[in-house]
Subunit: 429 residues, 2 copies
Amino acid sequence: MKTIRIGILGLGVVGGGVIEIINRHREKMKSHAGVDLEVVRAADLTTERFAQLGLSPQQCTTDAFEVVNDPNVDIVVELIGGVGVARDLVLAAINAGKPVVTANKALLATYGEEIFNAADAKGVDIRFEASVGGGIPVLEPLTHALTGNEITRVMGIVNGTTNYMLTRMTDDGLSFDEVLKEAQDLGYAEADPTADVDGLDAAAKIAILASLAFNSRVTLDDVYAEGIRKLSATDIEYAEEIGYTVKLLGIANKLADGIDVRVHPTMIPCNHQLASVNGVYNAVYLTGDFVGDVMFFGEGAGAGAAASAVVGDLVEAARAYQSGNKVIGCTCTDNLPIRPLDTLRTRYCVRLIIEDKSGVIAQLGAVFANYGVSLKSLKQRGAAGAGQVEFIFMTHETLEADMQKVLADIAQIDAVHEVASVLRVENLD
Amino acid sequence: MKTIRIGILGLGVVGGGVIEIINRHREKMKSHAGVDLEVVRAADLTTERFAQLGLSPQQCTTDAFEVVNDPNVDIVVELIGGVGVARDLVLAAINAGKPVVTANKALLATYGEEIFNAADAKGVDIRFEASVGGGIPVLEPLTHALTGNEITRVMGIVNGTTNYMLTRMTDDGLSFDEVLKEAQDLGYAEADPTADVDGLDAAAKIAILASLAFNSRVTLDDVYAEGIRKLSATDIEYAEEIGYTVKLLGIANKLADGIDVRVHPTMIPCNHQLASVNGVYNAVYLTGDFVGDVMFFGEGAGAGAAASAVVGDLVEAARAYQSGNKVIGCTCTDNLPIRPLDTLRTRYCVRLIIEDKSGVIAQLGAVFANYGVSLKSLKQRGAAGAGQVEFIFMTHETLEADMQKVLADIAQIDAVHEVASVLRVENLD
């Protein structure tokens, strides 16, 4: 059995985890999977990591290109992240004909077309299971076991930080600011939490999922992303009262006229399988024409989980490399249009803070009627402040464009103090 | 692209589904997966199926061996089921050097060693995703994406019929007999429901899962199987009161001294991910040393779901066949012992019907104390009949052998009218 020589770029916690797995399970992978993996080179700017991970000085460098270009490296693992040097390194590895394993969701959601086209032209294998859902096997089943299906929907709780925050807000009634601080203290959220709380991390992941599921390139820019900053414990509490849970969902639907793809806080029925995915766990829920509904659940973050996915990819890349198995490309040959958000049809739950005076309901009702938006329910909740009350409207399915006009007009009504929240509602059936 | 020629043995609903998928998605699979699948031969004893499925008389036969031995057939799909002729056919295909795709859980859980050894000796690919969990991709991720892990636990709700029945008993308080009749009327349960309700179907599936997860052969005979016949709505109702749900779980643990493998009705915490798997849905829950907990959820039954899994296997088998990719065998090289049920350590919930007279609690307490079984709680529920009451004991973790002695002694106490139920309790942490 020929040893497959691995070069790792980036020795953070995931890179360290990959080395640990190979150290612990190398013999097992030889006997079970028929491949012998060895980390022969590694690059990192933090040179103390080399000795910490048991690497010899000869194996290590601060110049990642040296690893990519080393003729003794068969497969390159890119764990640097970001869309700068990581892009150059991945392209360099592809040009050198070396299979690449990466966890870099931002890179693939931004420069996927360039990277996959380059890989396809060279017949080079590129694998990225760790880029979505941490250790959960989802991209491999989507492109292999489920390949007999037309996938029409992919949805996911794909950001562990925000799911942890929403779970705490739901279970303990905490505010966004309180749970953000807690998540930062626990190391779940970054000092700059933008990528997580504004939905950008989830947007990159749903872009990757949609690209694979629908065989049509979806980039980060294509995804409407709305995060959880404006969400309050009140919204979550009200959702619960009527049998819903609030989750930050990435949603992608393949419709007759194109792809609907978005990330936003979403009210989903409490009895749906995704509703019980709590804490830092992630889950991806798919619908195919033959398989029906399938869900993949697990740890979406953490060094061990991500390293597990990277090593799974390494084993497959190594097996294909040593057998000369033809690679399934990710070139996305169906070029489906992206539907503008305006064309979305869904239900909305709107919470308003209103001055408690007569005639307001009539004014509001006129606005909804004016744009043909039909109401399913209207509820008044106790005093929101001196002389103020809270109104919660739930609409029937309606057009996003119409809903936005309704909201703009409502904001102009004198008695409306605040449009406190607007949540999209998915029935998921 | 060379066309890969498929021969199907057995044209029931799953076989029909496979033909439908290939008819609908053949071009898609060519462009996405790089393989061209064509059903060239088929065998069934019900000759009317041939025309129903659009097959020409020349393609069809009632002699399945004719299909296996046809030099124009590259890959054989076995969908006859059972452990009789199916075994001969699968071995004949292997001997002819032809890859086999099968959904036959009973065959693999009974003659797995013979079949996988034969396949390994011939270097022949054998795939069986549809044998566990219907359309849910679980065997492929277990043996591929998760291969960097030592798997220490596999649990599953792997029988849709009993899960449907338990869900109805839980939601609507129906009796076992009522839901069995309903399940039979709906076509979810067979006229002879033994394989489902006595846990034998689930036992075959957990045997296959454990064999793959632990790389050690587990056969149907190794699995302690207890079904749901004795379960009452009262047991489920009481479990709910204290925060538990009752599920028929297949459970396999890899412990220091061997494999613990069993199927029985199990009380699990309501907030566990498996607790919300309801109706005919299935789920498999795994724990690995790096990936942590992972769950796969989906439709465990139904022609479309199973056909989806068969076609996923066909695509992989075809890719390996045309590229000469070395097959990962299923020979299970670790020969771990199976732990006897007596050595199990778990918690128990016991419901007794007792004559309402003084001194009974002291007698019961003495029996528990005699075998060192420690009680977590004791609860008396209203009158169970004239002069009778219901006692429910929950134990701390204890040895199965001790618990069986306790139960035998309790049954001898005059005042004990009936040991109404004994449920094992898993905390799953």
